[in-house]
Amino acid sequence: MNFNTAHFYESFLYGIKYFPNTLRLVFIPLAIGLTLGTVIALARVYKVPVLCKLLGIFVTVYQGVPIVVALMIYNLVFMLKFNDLAGFLHIKTKAADVDNIWVGIFALSLTAVCSISEAIRGALLSIDKGQDEAGYSVGLTKVQTIRRIIIPQMIPAAIPTLINHVVGLIKASSVVMAIGIIEIVAGATIPSSRTYSFFEGYVAAAVIYWAFTIMIEYLAKVLRRHTGRFRRNPYD
């Protein structure tokens, strides 16, 4: 097998062209995951009755579901039931009008919510209970304590795990090609279906992903230094 540089280059350009789709597939679920994940983590750490149990079960069980299978099921259900659902809700949108990238975003978001909530929960638990008490003792309400004391400390503690999840999300986003969403891998192999240079296509996709994750990890390093600025380590 010969490595064809021209085909590699063409695949590379195609992969880049669909890079924005990967960005959407990563950052929308990330935003949803951070918001809902924090809410879930707080509900569980502060033991909101009933909800905390239910969320705990959901997160633990759902983390066992491989994203590929979940995606296949959502896609099948989406194609079959979306029109009924839209009709039921009196929405005029039809399955045909919905870009199926949203099915991918939905699946990735659920995964992100679960894993991010676990990361944040871990960070919250690592904060000393005395911090809450200190907040209450100076007359802050529970919400104020969480917002002003707990969350600012939680963020730097959660960042390393969060970055791992972001990198995981970037890589997981490639599975959506299974339902026909064109992201980097599917994009890079588009020219391959004409030239049959699939190997070059996959290598091109790998290069793009690799560069992207290295960049994210570099940004994470900078971010970590920045958020850790106020954390004094007596041993330093």
Partner: protein
Amino acid sequence: MMNQWIKKIVIKAVLTALGAAMLTGCGKKTAAADTGVTKVVVGTGNAYAPYCYLDEKGDLAGYEYEVLKAVDELLPQYEFEYQTSDFANVLISLDAGKIDLAAHQYEWNKERDDKYLFGKEPYTTYVTYLAVTGDRTDIKSLDDLKGRKVKSSTGSNSVYILENYNKDHPDNPIKIDYVDNSTDEETVTGLVNGVWDATILTKRDTEKLNQNYGGGRDVLKVTGEPVQSSSTYFVFAKDNTRLQEAVDGAVKQLKESGKLAQISKDVIGGDYTESE
């Protein structure tokens, strides 16, 4: 010390792993060499009923397999061994030298011909049409699909047709959805619910889908003139003319004896070896 201790273990482990893998690999080869029979690895798909799919027991079944079995019987100098994979990976495997013969209802097209060696003896006709839901009347030709969504899969001939069409009509291209290794159920569901406006199918595949998912109705139909009339061929590596000639000869024999038509009737449900 620790250094050497760990090194030893790692080296031993790697050697055993490699050794085990080599042994399993070599075992097969020597068996073939003893009898003077050349082993031919056939690559085919695993999700295209009734041509190549895994049956209820998980074994390879379908028209491609039955035809190749008959071909193998006629060629004492070769012994066929089958390797299934995802559709898009069959031709890559041929390119990478992992298989000698690719069988997946391959139609001839120029790009493929540049890279691979096609058999000269077709073994099924393959006339493709646009397939839409039973109640649609607005789509008759590729021109009606401008700006609409069409389901296709990476590496297929329908992608080739659609992309060529788009190259000639860049102003309002057909939106191609590359859905790899999808199931029939997904194809029907997507078309019925309007996720895709059309796809490219043969008449017999459309009938098969109606039979399996229609519940007595024609949920899908082919429309308009054929998109392409061609036949399917076995595909070989560029320089493997010896195997190609041998297989072609056997296919020809099967045609003359009526065996090929019989297999087609038995497996696909009609004689599709010469005409639709």
